[in-house]
């Protein structure tokens, strides 16, 4: 029963991390667009949000059950 719950938690975290990474890839494209347009402010904004998302990913990873 516990193993089943751990698996569910692991899968949920995995899905969240995949979603966050997808958002980060979008933000990387925004940063590249800012670079091409000569707007470094846009690039920095995208990077700051991306950093925040990466921190959430790291935090989620720490909550991953050890068994799975």
């Amino acid at each position: 029963m516990r193993r089943r719950r751990d698996t569910q938690i692991s899968t949920a975290i995995l899905v969240f991390v995949v979603l966050l990474l997808s958002l980060q890839l979008f933000l990387l494209a925004v940063a590249a667009e800012g670079f091409l347009a000569g707007e470094s402010g846009l690039a920095w904004s995208a990077t700051i949000i991306s950093t925040f998302l990466a921190l959430i990913s790291v935090l989620l990873y720490r909550f991953l059950p050890r068994r799975d």
Partner: protein, 164 residues
């Protein structure tokens, strides 16, 4: 069925040499590492965008006014010899300068006098007389070049940061 093994192993009881499974934890760790790498790449891009210097050019004589027909265009290079640019004279009172690089993938745009717009032949991107995209894949306007008339001569003064 061996205890602790997944059900699919019963239906597919074959293994290959060197076969190894990837746990959710390992896969998540890989994704988190990718997440950090993407952030790092964004940081490098942002830093590069902040630190790079962009040549916006200086005052440069292009051509005499009588060499540009009303309704016509004139091609030149600005701010460097590697930057194609275009001058258009839609009417006798107006002279406009633009970078010739399409903001989609950098193809060279040309002036379509009958339609009064710029056209990129690569993907049929269209820009109006103010350089704004009106059709096709481009989403950003053409780089503007500030021009001035001095004693019947057309001079380029400065290019948008985006031009280069």
């Amino acid at each position: 069925m061996t205890e602790g093994q997944p059900i699919w192993r019963r239906d597919f009881p074959y293994t290959t040499e060197g076969e190894e499974g990837v746990s959710r934890r390992e896969f998540t760790r890989f994704l988190v590492a990718a997440s950090v790498a993407v952030t790092g790449t964004g940081g490098i891009v942002s830093l590069w965008a902040s630190l790079r210097t962009i040549n916006t050019g200086g005052a440069h004589r292009i051509v005499t006014l009588d060499q540009v027909a009303v309704g016509g265009s004139y091609l030149f290079r600005y701010p460097t010899e590697d930057d194609p640019a275009i001058l258009v004279r839609p009417d006798s009172e107006t002279i406009l300068g633009f970078s010739q690089k399409c903001t989609h993938l950098g193809c060279v745009v040309f002036w379509e006098p009958d339609e009064q717009h710029f056209e990129c032949p690569c993907h049929e991107g269209l820009f109006d007389l103010s350089g704004e995209p009106i059709a096709g894949p481009p989403e950003r306007p053409l780089g503007r070049i500030e021009v001035e008339l001095r004693n019947d001569e057309i001079w380029a003064l400065e290019a948008d940061r985006e031009t280069t």
